[in-house]
Symmetry: C2
Subunit: 333 residues, 2 copies
């Protein structure tokens, strides 16, 4: 392969493009949680990002680089939800028409929010259809530019802006990060962040976090070649169901990530409950998988400073209530 | 009465004292909510404050002004919960022993958190005992300084730091505030904020918000004299059960507040659900009463810019789940 992988300068340029449009989300800390873990845990609160997840960053960085001739017919994206909302809202902010191809079983809140941003929604069947093929056909027919969910240098650079922000915000708190962990679906977020963090703070270890049973990146890193998930449905973490690492994200993952850690659905529910109780933050299942890994000490915090990216908060009330109830059962710890 | 009412300079001094100890909580905004309301709604996210509510500000401003001779025997406070946690954590930060007198029916999370900050907890019966008398007896016996929950210039000035922050943060967003609304129990928060806002931005209207049936301030403002609530239990808003406006807060309320608005428990649950869904923020019932007033258009946002203080997020999982479930029922809108 002969790909032009993004570099740190692309993240710096992305940070300038998104400034004022995206929110510089806060880095949260809780002394009681720190006491319990015996170290320092910093939470990057991307649920407070515009559209409720980090996806706005990459989408805005992408669409803002299109010329007038590309913006006029508009963009098309395929997404289980958060990328859809990010593209729809970035397109609205940049006065560009958007069509979003979404799975028919996407959470209702994500469909409603995508439409509320003015985008057209086209549904597909997760089990039968190829969402990328549908989106690309639409793109050909209508002259729309596809906005890929993760495997593109502009998307990776946009998500990577979180990496430079957390290093900067941790510094303002007098903290030096020993490790950073971010949820991983296709890897745009975790590799973008790792690229930024490694450029600024080479001694900081960077990890991805995946749901148990959907650990394509962990297996790809172990084998050295791209591995696919066996299933594309059935995880509590509906935002983390990409089939495999991408052609851009996998080489970046090999270069910059120290590994990919895994958490079960029950552990993710417990992490959502902790974020609710101690950080007053609504985190969706896919957004809490890094926090779950930390709480289970797969990434130890003791005597260290660890930054966890909580990447989104777009969860239905019913699912959130179920997560709190699951976590409240004594047997689930 | 011949009281030395606090002035804006006290709030400026408090802001310097709490800097670095308290968190400058973010001001949140959501384009979709703005579209729906036809104006601009800014949410001051005090659930993200240290201890999960604004109370840390006043407590820290108070205890930091005690001399070594007063700090050594320590402080005592009486509280339904958030003030307790604020005093306990501020005392810990300032290496001062704290005893907290709490109602026996305070939410479990608030009791646990107060203890986790290293404070001793003494319980009283909301219906039979006089909590202030118990605390003052403890103060006399052990030489402790009482930290009153609201009716003290140092407390009011500490809470008032939110007022100067929101004017400053709104300015950074290019917004000029037409109105500010803050939850009210004894009035330390709402009058402190109003004092700061009026000093910096005299044209901004300031309102308090109270739970229906516990509208002592609204009735006091209407009658011109201090009125008491008939009951001290029975509201969903467990943080807003002070018996009446204070000797300091009432004159400040008369001077600086445009009025006090009221919301029902069901309206508060709907506001909690909106904060969850659109702002990804956990808000406790008492913290959401201002937002409830805005959503019911008792304080209109249309063609205006309104700042709502969401004052705390210390709510048990069970109560939060109940609030989301209540708000999801079609008949509650």
């Amino acid at each position: 392969m002969d790909l032009n992988l993004p570099v740190y300068a692309d993240i710096e340029a992305a940070a300038q493009r998104i400034e004022g449009a995206a929110i510089r989300t806060p880095l949260l800390e809780n002394p009681r949680v720190n006491d319990r873990l015996g170290g320092r845990l910093l939470i990057k609160a991307e649920p407070l990002q515009r559209t409720g997840s980090f996806k706005f960053r990459g989408a805005y960085n992408f669409i803002s680089q299109l010329g007038a001739a590309q913006r006029q017919p508009g963009v098309v994206a395929w997404s289980s939800g958060n990328h859809a909302q990010g593209v729809a809202e970035a397109a609205r902010a940049l006065r560009t028409p958007a069509t979003i191809v979404m799975p028919h079983d996407a959470p209702a809140i994500k469909v409603a929010n995508t439409r509320a941003s003015g985008a057209r929604v086209v549904f597909y069947d997760r089990l039968k259809d190829d969402r990328e093929a549908i989106a690309r056909a639409l793109a050909d027919r209508e002259g729309r530019t596809p906005v890929p969910p993760y495997d593109h240098p502009w998307i990776i650079a946009g998500q990577g802006t979180i990496g430079s922000e957390v290093i900067d915000q941790a510094g303002a708190l007098g903290a030096t990060l020993d490790a950073v962990i971010a949820p991983c679906s296709g890897g745009g977020l975790s590799t973008g962040i790792a690229m930024a963090v490694k450029a600024i703070s080479p001694q900081t270890q960077c990890f991805a976090a995946e749901p148990a049973g959907f650990d394509d990146l962990a297996r790809s890193l172990a084998s050295g070649t791209i591995q696919r998930n066996e299933r594309l449905t059935g995880s509590f973490c509906d935002a983390l169901l990409a089939p495999c690492p991408g052609n851009y994200t996998f080489p970046l993952a090999k270069r910059h990530l120290a590994g990919s850690l895994v958490a079960t659905d029950e552990e993710v529910a417990a992490a959502m409950e902790l974020a609710f109780r101690e950080f007053k933050l609504v985190v969706e299942p896919g957004g809490a998988v890094g926090l779950a890994c930390v709480l289970k000490e797969r990434l130890p915090v003791k005597d260290r400073t660890v930054c966890v990216i909580c990447s989104g908060g777009n969860v239905d009330g019913e699912m959130f209530r179920a997560a709190l109830a699951t976590a409240a059962r004594p047997q689930s710890g």
